[in-house]
């Protein structure tokens, strides 16, 4: 079985500010980490690998410094890693990104299972899974809260608003994974050292069979017209007393003064 896990490197914190001069999001000094939901997708892949001996290929699209996350995925247990990096990819929206990812998966060939996190914690769209499955002409199961492999099928549980679904999916299929699905493992030092024996492969635009009109900004129907920081309701950030009882008494007094706690509710 061949599994591709698509991951994204995201800022370590989402508590970002807008740079007043450039009007862009200021990421200076914020380091990149693997998107939390993608860790669950990776873990799901490693689970299946442990049971079936599947090959796990991890992939991301982004600038060269995204290699850090791919290296970590190798250390966690991926067999190989592919970075899709090219200046032509810059400015891509979800549609153009999904197109490049799907073409890279086609180039790998004979992929049985594509796994992604349910969404990224920065852009928050959750669109990549359905877009990639559409371009691959694959069936999709999104927001998997549980998945088990059973021969050449997957048993998946997912939750809609008021509905619980049990899905039996024949391979090939694309699945997006929630943080309910498993408990991701973290890397130990030995694995990190070993992972440097495996290297990350970089594919540029010229390595893929791409239609120029469908990549980067040219291939992106969406235009971000402006970004702003929402008027956050200013929080007081009032630090309570050091002693627990003093702190509790202080809090109750304040809440009663402000009518947030009314006596004898």
């Amino acid at each position: 079985m061949k599994i591709v896990v698509g991951i994204k490197q995201v800022p370590e914190t989402t508590n970002v500010k807008i740079n007043e001069k450039t009007k862009n999001i200021d990421r200076r000094g914020i380091s990149g980490v693997i998107n939390q939901y993608d860790r669950h997708a990776l873990e799901a892949a490693f689970d299946i690998k442990a049971k079936t001996g599947a090959e796990v290929i991890v992939m991301t699209m982004g600038p060269d410094d995204f290699v850090v996350s791919l290296q970590e995925a190798l250390a966690l247990g991926a067999d190989s890693a592919i970075l899709l990096s090219d200046r032509a990819f810059a400015g891509a929206d979800t549609l153009a990104t999904g197109y490049v990812l799907s073409e890279a998966i086609k180039k790998i060939g004979d992929v049985d299972l594509v796994l992604l996190g349910q969404q990224s914690v920065d852009a928050d769209t959750g669109q990549m899974g359905p877009i990639v499955s559409e371009f691959l002409d694959m069936s999709q199961v999104t927001y998997a809260s549980k998945l088990d492999v059973d021969g050449d099928t997957l048993r998946i549980k997912r939750y809609l608003e008021t509905v619980e679904q049990d899905v039996i999916a024949k391979l090939p299929v694309l699945v997006t994974v929630t943080d309910q699905a498993n408990e991701p493992k973290y890397v130990n030092v030995v694995e990190i050292a070993k992972s440097f024996e495996k290297s990350v492969i970089t594919w540029h635009a010229s390595d893929l069979n791409l239609d120029d009109d469908r990549v980067g900004q040219a291939g992106s129907p969406s235009v971000v017209r402006s970004i702003s920081s929402p008027e956050a309701v200013a929080k007081d950030n009032h630090k309570l007393a050091d002693n627990p009882q003093d702190a509790a008494d202080e809090l109750v007094r304040i809440l009663k003064d402000k009518n947030i706690l009314v006596e004898d509710k």
Binding site: P11, T13, N15, V16, I18, I25, Y37, T94, L95, Q118, V121, D124, T125, G126, Q127, G129, P130, S133, E134, F135, S139, Q140, V141, T142, S145, R158, Y159, L160, T162, V163, E164, Q165, V167, I168, A169, P172, D179, Q180, S220, P221, S222, V223, R225, I227, S229, P230, K235, D236, N237, H238, K239, L240, D242, P244, A247, A248, L251, L255, I260, L261
Partner: protein
């Protein structure tokens, strides 16, 4: 590309019932749209959910009655909507609920139609009659973006529940169009069994006005008991972070955050919760936030009106005494 001067809404149906977000979308679209507002409804052959939808007064309801499609998966629904759009022409815009269903179906259709889609919108308005301006949060609601799709149709969006208010509206000219002969392509890769989720008997956290929330640090039996005693005293409901749903007594209905529930209580007390973005994305509508954590740099403190640095359990016990 054949264009249709209409704005479309996808009616979300969960087990034979229209999801209320559909009504919210109709009311909003009626307010902002200069073009006719059309609802696309897929339902079983014996259902007549269009009667419920009519009460909110769209200009048109396109009803596709098909038992197989009413149970359809994302691919089958995408095929059906694509076929429909092939017949009618591309609408000016097509909006969906930002639910699991909408967030799965809309991007697949987006890719099929090769157009733009904005996820999870908090506001919509039109400019120059037909340009849909979509406001969406990112970075866990820390940034707002305004997004437009200038050259592609339909302009697609998913919209969060409960940001718009649904109002019944008597529109005597609502037209209902039944489509019975839509070709359905079966997807044999997936077998789906759906059943209703058991309804919570207790007050749900999404409705609760007071919540005591507990995190991974509070997983021990004793800490749980303490938190519950505090919740009792406050007439509050218990909410949890993702790791606690591993315990039998909690599930996704009790979980606060991006992959759980968004809450909007008058007061939220966080015990031993550090404040990862997956959690804080679910608490932005809480009015007063109190947090206790041993880590003086815990991110949760930034979101808090009042915070206590120290052992959450001791704080919880002290708070219980203070409420005597």
């Amino acid at each position: 590309m054949e264009l249709l001067k209409e704005n479309w809404i996808f009616a979300e149906v969960d087990l034979n019932k229209v999801n209320p977000i559909t009504y919210q979308l109709i009311t909003k679209m009626n307010q902002i749209s200069n073009l006719p507002v059309t609802v696309v409804l897929i339902e079983g052959s014996n259902e007549s959910l269009e009667d419920d939808i009519k009460e909110y007064g769209p200009d048109k309801i396109i009803t596709i009655k098909n038992d197989q499609l009413a149970q359809g998966n994302d691919l089958e629904m995408t095929n059906a909507l694509d076929t429909l759009i092939d017949k009618t022409g591309r609408p000016n815009s097509f909006v969906f609920a930002a639910t699991v269903v909408g967030r799965s179906l809309a991007p697949r259709l987006q890719a099929r139609l090769r157009t733009g889609l904005t996820a999870d919108c908090l506001d919509l308005h039109f400019e120059d009659d037909d340009t849909l301006v979509q406001t969406k949060p990112s970075y866990g609601d820390n940034i707002m973006c305004e997004i437009v799709v200038p050259n592609h149709r339909p302009q697609m969006a998913t919209v969060r529940s409960n940001v718009f208010e649904a109002k019944k509206f008597n529109n005597p000219s609502t037209k209902v169009i039944n489509i019975t002969n839509l070709k359905v392509v079966k997807d044999n890769q997936l077998t789906i069994l759906s059943k209703p989720l058991p309804q919570e008997s207790a007050e749900s956290i999404t409705e609760a006005s007071r919540i005591v929330a507990i995190g991974r640090g509070d997983k021990t039996e004793e800490n749980l008991t303490n938190a519950k005693r505090l919740a009792d005293k406050l007439h509050a409901v218990i909410g949890v972070t993702r790791p606690l749903t591993d315990l039998d007594e909690f599930d996704i209905n009790d979980q606060i955050g991006q992959s759980g529930q968004s809450v909007s209580p008058d007061i939220l007390i966080n015990l031993g919760i550090s404040g990862a973005v997956q959690y804080t994305a679910g608490i932005s509508n809480a009015k007063t936030i109190v947090s206790a954590n041993t880590d003086k740099d815990a991110p949760i403190f930034k979101y808090s009106d009042y915070y206590y640095v120290g052992n959450a359990e001791e704080f919880s016990k002290a708070l219980e005494r203070a409420l005597q």
